[in-house]
Assembly symmetry: C2
Homo-oligomer: 253 residues x 2
């Protein structure tokens, strides 16, 4: 038997699990995150508006991934979004005081602790999607413009950005941020936004054009007041065939 069994204090009726979603979007120029507005009534009767990451408590019968899907779907109207798990935030004091009261009032229950699992995902922004989310009192905020968030959501967001950078170095997630057909300039803007650096465009194009899974579509931009750029697409099948699980000494740290 486990010798530490006696230490475990079991009173599970006051603890809940929630999911929070960090939804990154890219509009061709800059990187944004989706924040939900929150109204909070102070004891004085004054109403404060601030922002939080979108999230929800989970149902008993619900997989956490389903809960996160539900949150995302409700806000941006898309099914089958590719969500990725991040950290769980489980400090017993992470939600307390006014913040805990807000949750209890909001859901009509009495909790003493909320543990939250964070998911994140990447979407392409267009004016239609932006309008859709704004009707739901959610805003796409540029990463540099994010101010104070509810709960420990600033901390969560910082962890998500870190995770995003890591992910970009492991997998071709960039294309989740872009429309199916994109220009190399959009792709470069995205890398520059994520890594926060400048990249030489000749070297960048050379690199991209050497990859067999970045394929010219034959179409070009229209009605732009400069030389129109070609559209490319990402060929997932070619990517899987070629580039899987290679080991190079260069990967050793």
């Amino acid at each position: 038997m486990y010798s530490y069994m006696g230490d475990v204090n079991l009173t599970y009726d006051k603890q809940a699990i929630s999911v929070d979603c960090v939804i990154f979007g890219f509009d061709g120029k800059s990187l944004r995150v989706l924040l939900k507005q929150r109204q909070r009534e102070l004891p004085s009767g004054e109403v404060l508006v601030d922002s939080k990451l979108p999230g929800s408590l989970i149902s008993d019968s619900e997989d956490l991934t389903c809960a996160a899907q539900r949150v995302v779907q409700t806000l941006i109207g898309l099914r089958n979004i590719n969500l990725r798990q991040m950290e769980i935030f489980s400090d017993p004091q992470r939600v307390q005081g006014n913040e805990l009261e807000w949750i209890n009032k909001y859901y009509g229950i009495t909790l003493s602790r909320v543990v939250t699992m964070v998911f994140f995902t990447l979407v392409k922004l267009d004016s239609k999607l932006i309008a859709y989310t704004e009707r739901r009192e959610a805003d796409w905020v540029e990463l540099n413009d994010v101010r104070h968030l509810a709960f420990d959501h600033n901390k969560i967001l910082i962890a998500a950005i870190d995770r995003l950078i890591t992910l970009f170095r492991q997998e071709p997630v960039a294309f989740d941020f872009l429309p199916r057909k994109f220009t190399l300039r959009h792709l470069q803007n995205l890398y520059e936004a994520v890594y926060d650096i400048a990249i030489d465009n000749r070297n960048f194009r050379k690199k991209m054009l050497s990859l067999p899974y970045i394929v010219p579509s034959g179409e070009s931009e229209k009605e732009v007041s400069h030389k129109p750029a070609q559209y490319y697409y990402f060929d997932r099948r070619k990517y899987r065939q070629k580039n899987n699980k290679i080991f190079k000494l260069g990967f050793i740290y």
Copy 2:
């Protein structure tokens, strides 16, 4: 207000959170994982012995990380182990039937669902540590020798191995597996075990010796019946100074 609020079914008294720990160890030759023996009495009265990943339900007041620390500390006797969060496994059906009964009997409670957060960590194996864990009915099993595990623990282990490989490409975690002073051969064996490949030893040594944070200690092996190898150590400070957050086009996928 959240439009999906009505969907959430709130009965939190039958759901628990557990932690499971995937503890990888390296003995200089091969890669192992720590498994806990489990006794299970069948309705027939027969007693089955199988294996599971070490884990525990969590206390109300406990951070998940603390719970995982507790599990690890109890089994291997070391404090302040550097644990890393992995996925959460939250399928409502992941534990049911006999398996669920076993948990309820074991902890003396009545749960209908257990969600588990997985942590993993890396340790160096020596005969002292192996003896310590064996006294606690836990075994260091070679990865290739792992057979059927309790619950969904095979699935969890596979995910952990995948995570381990990814991590090796991102950070110098190798040194968490090795004693403070190690030979280049041990280091190479470790990379070969994790990636499951053969590496040319000349190229490997050249690469390692070019890294400023892999430093010869001046000492050598003793009492070996062949040419004694030099010991090296990993200089964490030098690593942090040099190698942080560089961007190269080669990282683009």
